[in-house]
């Protein structure tokens, strides 16, 4: 019977192919959308998890989260480090990490932040060491792969966050000191350095005043002579490890003091990422910040939920299309079955003269339908996965986020089960005429 069902199907390849194709399309579309949605929300969740709140310049809170946590949008602007740190002294705050950027290398963002940022994402070194001095960077695994950067390589950054910036800071090359292990988070696609690097690059650019320029040139000369950067830098380092943020406020060597303090007040960061002892703290503090300061506080979890809400409409639309195609596919299989039963009435009657009973005939029709829907479902699932894979290649190039191949999820199995279940009533409907099949008449009406 199974063999006959199979033979019947392949003897009418056009009908079979059409039904399978429709089914295949709808199932691949449905599983594709499901997968994208799942993986996107998983991906987002993983990346926003370390932080409860972002403090940045006023503007769209979604933009702030996208830029400072997910590193995909432009920042809203800069805020003063001093002011942000004041907020951070609140006892509800567990950790806070300043981040700053403004530069890129071939479109990859260069992020200035203390080492704690890496610990938050549980990033560890693949090789090399962490950045210690300004202009030392560690790079994410994705960056290392894409641009083939290795330890010891140097590069110059260009201004802004977009690729092909005409303005390059060619005076100050960055040096790669470490490469991070893949983490599956935004870190993989970042170049990370300390805050000072970002400040120095931009001071250089902003300050045309002679006094400041001279100061930096002095610094450079010192470096070229092979001397250590002096006691100010050492001082920095020691403190950086223990008190990530506090040291920014501390006094430094006599000579630099006045000068440094001046900078201290002006020093800007893009945003401050905050983790609370208790997530409720985020709610209280964000209201305070939004009402009483020139900064804004955004809660990544809310913003991402909002974002998924927007995308949800699109996903639902695609789901709708998939379901429509599925219905058409179901209808096509149904019509095909009815056609099969009608066209092959004589063959079915012949089988009855051979001794097959009605239920065997229905079984035959059912097997054919089952074969179609199984083939369509399985191929559709594979096509869905292949599209995910192709899409993954695309996202990896565009955004550096690759998607993961996964085995069928429960939801997908449910879809396939539903498709197969719906063939059952189709078979029964199509088989109704078999109960009334007049073998004698069918055989003699040649």
């Amino acid at each position: 019977m199974l063999y006959l069902a199979y033979k019947n199907l392949i003897s009418k390849p056009l009908n079979t192919v059409l039904s399978v194709l429709l089914l295949l399309l709808s199932i691949s579309l449905a599983t594709f959308v499901l997968q994208i949605r799942n993986q996107l929300s998983q991906h987002l969740e993983k990346n926003i998890k370390p932080f409860d709140m972002v403090i940045g310049a006023k503007g769209s809170p979604l933009q702030l989260v996208l830029s400072s946590v997910l590193h995909i949008d432009n920042p809203t602007g800069n805020i003063l480090l001093e002011e942000a740190l004041k907020i951070g002294r609140n006892p509800m705050v567990k950790d806070m990490i300043p981040v700053s950027y403004g530069d890129n290398y071939k479109g990859i963002r260069i992020l200035g932040t203390p080492h704690e940022y890496l610990t938050k994402y549980q990033a560890s070194l693949q090789e090399g060491r962490l950045y210690e001095k300004p202009f030392e960077v560690v790079i994410g695994s994705g960056v290392a792969k894409k641009d083939n950067l290795q330890i010891g390589d140097t590069f110059v950054s260009s201004h802004g966050l977009a690729e092909n910036g005409l303005e390059t800071h060619d005076e100050k090359p960055f040096v790669v000191t470490g490469i991070l292990k893949p983490t599956g988070t935004v870190i993989d696609q970042l170049i990370i350095t300390n805050l000072e690097s970002i400040w120095e690059v931009h001071k250089h650019e902003d300050e045309h005043g002679q006094y400041e320029g001279k100061h930096y040139r002095e610094h450079e000369v010192e470096n070229k002579d092979g001397h250590p950067r002096g006691h100010e830098e050492k001082h920095h380092k020691e403190h950086e490890e223990e008190h990530a943020v506090e040291h920014y406020e501390e006094d430094h060597g006599e000579h630099e003091e006045r000068h440094h303090k001046e900078h201290e007040e002006e020093r800007e960061i893009t945003s401050l990422l905050v983790k609370f002892r208790n997530p409720l703290g985020a709610l209280q503090l964000s209201r305070f910040i939004n009402e009483n300061t020139t900064m804004q506080a955004a809660i990544p979890k809310f913003e991402i939920e909002r974002l998924m809400g927007f995308l949800g409409i699109g996903f639902r639309a695609i789901h709708g299309i998939a379901i429509t195609i599925l219905l058409v596919a179901g209808l096509s299989i149904f019509i095909n079955l009815i056609k099969t039963v009608r066209e092959r009435k004589q063959e079915l009657a012949l089988l009855r003269t051979y001794g097959a009973n009605t239920f065997q005939l229905i079984k035959l029709v059912f097997l054919e339908a089952l074969f179609l829907s199984l083939l369509g479902s399985v191929l559709g699932w594979f096509l869905g996965r292949i599209s995910i894979w192709l899409f993954s290649v695309f996202t990896e190039n565009m955004y550096g986020h690759s998607l993961v191949f996964s085995f069928p999820t429960n939801k997908e199995l449910l879809i396939v089960a539903l498709v197969i279940l719906t063939t059952l009533p189709a078979v029964i409907l199509a088989s109704l005429s078999l109960f009334k099949l007049n073998v004698s008449k069918t055989i003699s009406d040649a």
């Binding site: 089988l351 003269t353 001794g355 009973n357 009605t358 055989i443």
Partner: protein, 210 residues
Amino acid sequence: MIQTTSLRFTYQNSKNHVFCFPDIDLPPNEDLLILGPSGVGKTTLLHLLAGLLPPNEGDVFIANTYLNKLTRKQLDNFRGQNIGLIFQRAYFIRSLSLLENLTLRERLSKKKSDRYRREELIMQLGLSDFQNKRVYQLSEGQQQRLSIALGVIHRPKVILADEPTSNLDDTNCEKVIFLLKKEAQICKSNLVIITHDQRVKAHFDNHLIL
């Protein structure tokens, strides 16, 4: 063994026309030729014998089985095992090859698969070179021979042939009659042929004229 008594049959769409058939009493191993012009109900009688139509009146006994008493499913089963039907126009499962058609028929009869029997039959009918061909690739003569094979492969107790020769030329007609007789002998079955073909008449002694 075939036995019928006072068989009557009426088609639903022609209530006024009632087919009344003479009683048949055919002992085992004997052949019967049913003759008559078109429209007298030859095929109807054959289908009554095959259990494809239920009689309105009268009884049908085939191989000691009272067909009237069987359920639809039992009838299908009985037909599969004991009756071999050969039609005027050859019917096959188009998606299967010659050999596959034969195997299918054999399996549906629920009898043991007999490879030797299949091969011998195919050889006797001169179809050895075509056994893996699709049935619609065969010539008309070959198709008719295949339909005989399909009618006898499972060694039925009764072979019922409906105008097996009407589309054939003289040579093929002779061949078909010879084959049918021979197979009926081998299977020890009753051979019932309905026909209006005069060429067949001479080959059989037992005639029933409707």
